[in-house]
């Protein structure tokens, strides 16, 4: 069944799950960018099997700057496909209802499904211990199979002629 909220150009759940499962990497730990309204960390994700060719995935974390006197917001992190499909995400809510499962309290992970797109949530496991933007970014890297640093390409040793 297709929901009215679904965007037809989006990935299927299977495609999204496969992308998350595949081993990936980012080239280096991104610097924190101080924008006018928020701090953000962005990195392009590459697949280990296709190094140096962007696979359409980006990992982004951001936290809003707070005006003085108001409680600060908590950061969030998303794994985005083609710049607009949150195939995975982590953020905080007092309570978050889930269209296909139990209500979740606190830190939760968004997953991509065919019917509900990114609206399905699960309790964040492992628990978020570092609630800073860097901590949430690191959680996303670990959870979504993204390594830090380019893979080392091993050169095959040349085989010399067999024994005469």
């Amino acid at each position: 069944m297709i929901s009215a909220f679904m965007r037809p150009e989006g990935p299927t759940q299977d495609e999204a799950d496969k992308l998350v499962k595949k081993r990936k990497y980012i080239r280096k730990w991104p610097i924190m960018i101080e924008g006018e309204r928020e701090y953000r960390m962005i990195a392009t994700v590459f697949r280990r099997s296709l190094p140096n060719r962007p696979c359409g995935l980006t990992i982004k974390a951001h936290v809003k700057k707070a005006p003085s006197g108001v409680p600060r917001s908590l950061p969030s992190c998303v794994l985005e496909l083609a710049g607009r499909f949150r195939i995975r995400g982590i953020d905080y809510a007092v309570v978050h209802s889930c269209p296909s499962g139990p209500i979740v309290y606190g830190w939760h992970e968004h997953t991509w499904t065919n019917r509900y797109e990114d609206r399905v949530v699960l309790r964040a496991t492992p628990r978020i211990t570092d609630q800073s933007i860097a901590g949430v970014f690191a959680w996303g890297l670990k959870k979504w199979n993204i390594d830090l640093g380019e893979p080392v390409i091993k050169k095959k040793a040349k085989r010399h002629g067999s024994a005469a």
Binding site: F5, E9, C55, G56, P71, S73, R84, R119
Partner: protein
């Protein structure tokens, strides 16, 4: 009358159960704070959450801690300057305003209940922007305008968003120059996640139009690389089989060369 009271009472009882609150411990806040989560949903099925801070005696500050706009950006929707302006207009109609990306509303202790309801409505109204489906990808529009500039520089009179007749059906092209002594040209800017299927569709579209117009019309496809999943070589080959000119949004010179090569401009 009694039945009506019972219904209202039942509704309020159910609504009360759905409202969840949590204390906030943040030293940056001007006073004691509380978050109230109300059963109104925005992007990603997030509930509207209102942080209430008593910043001075009997004076309260309601805030969304930036969640209204965050839920949009996290869900892959862009918050443009135009949208921000519109959001500010909507906020002001509810008596709220934006400071940085925080939606804020000040109120007295005696009307805090009413203002919480008004604030929730403001946040929900702005946050509901996610329901507006984008008819076409935003970046594609930028590429189309760059393609138009090439035509303008070459002094070619073109039609925009034109449907070109094929043997089987009509096909949409972004820019169309009618044949006039020299061959005409129809250009489509394409983007999408499933690039292989997209290539097949456009290869068919081009062959269908070519069959109807023979040599009078050249067909071009511009791939919007930024708004697509990475294009593989087989997908590009399929497109090249169907279209006369295949250019990438990152290299629009190829389009210019194509126009020269096919004698559309001299």
């Amino acid at each position: 009358m009694a039945a009506r009271h019972r219904l209202v009472k039942e509704y309020l009882r159910s609504y009360g159960k759905l409202v969840v609150s949590e204390r906030v411990n943040d030293k940056a806040a001007a006073g004691e704070s509380l978050v109230i989560s109300v059963p109104l949903h925005v992007a990603g099925d997030h509930r509207v959450e209102i942080t209430i801070t008593e910043f001075s005696h009997n004076r309260f500050l309601l805030s969304d801690t930036g969640r209204t706009l965050s839920s949009l950006t996290d869900g892959g929707r862009s918050v443009t300057a135009d949208f921000r302006k519109r959001a500010e207009e909507i906020a002001s109609s509810f008596g709220a305003h934006f400071v940085l990306d925080y939606l804020l509303l000040e109120c007295d202790a005696r009307d805090v209940g009413t203002k919480i309801q008004v604030f929730a409505e403001a946040s929900k109204t702005i946050g509901d922007a996610y329901l507006l489906q984008r008819s076409r990808h935003e970046h594609v529009r930028q590429v189309v305008s760059e393609v138009k500039k090439i035509f303008e520089a070459r002094r070619l009179t073109y039609k925009e968003d034109c449907k070109v007749k094929g043997v089987v059906e009509k096909h949409p092209f972004d820019v169309y120059v009618a044949p006039n002594g020299r061959p005409g040209v129809a250009i489509a800017v394409i983007a999408g996640h499933n690039t292989h299927a997209l290539a097949k569709v456009w290869a068919f579209n081009c062959s269908d139009v070519r069959e109807a117009h023979q040599d009078k019309l050249r067909l071009g496809v511009v791939i919007d690389e930024e708004d697509s999943a990475p294009w593989t070589n087989p997908s590009r080959k399929i497109l090249k089989k169907g279209a006369d000119i295949v250019a990438s949004s990152s290299d629009l010179n190829a389009l210019d060369h194509g126009l020269l090569f096919h004698g559309i401009v001299v």
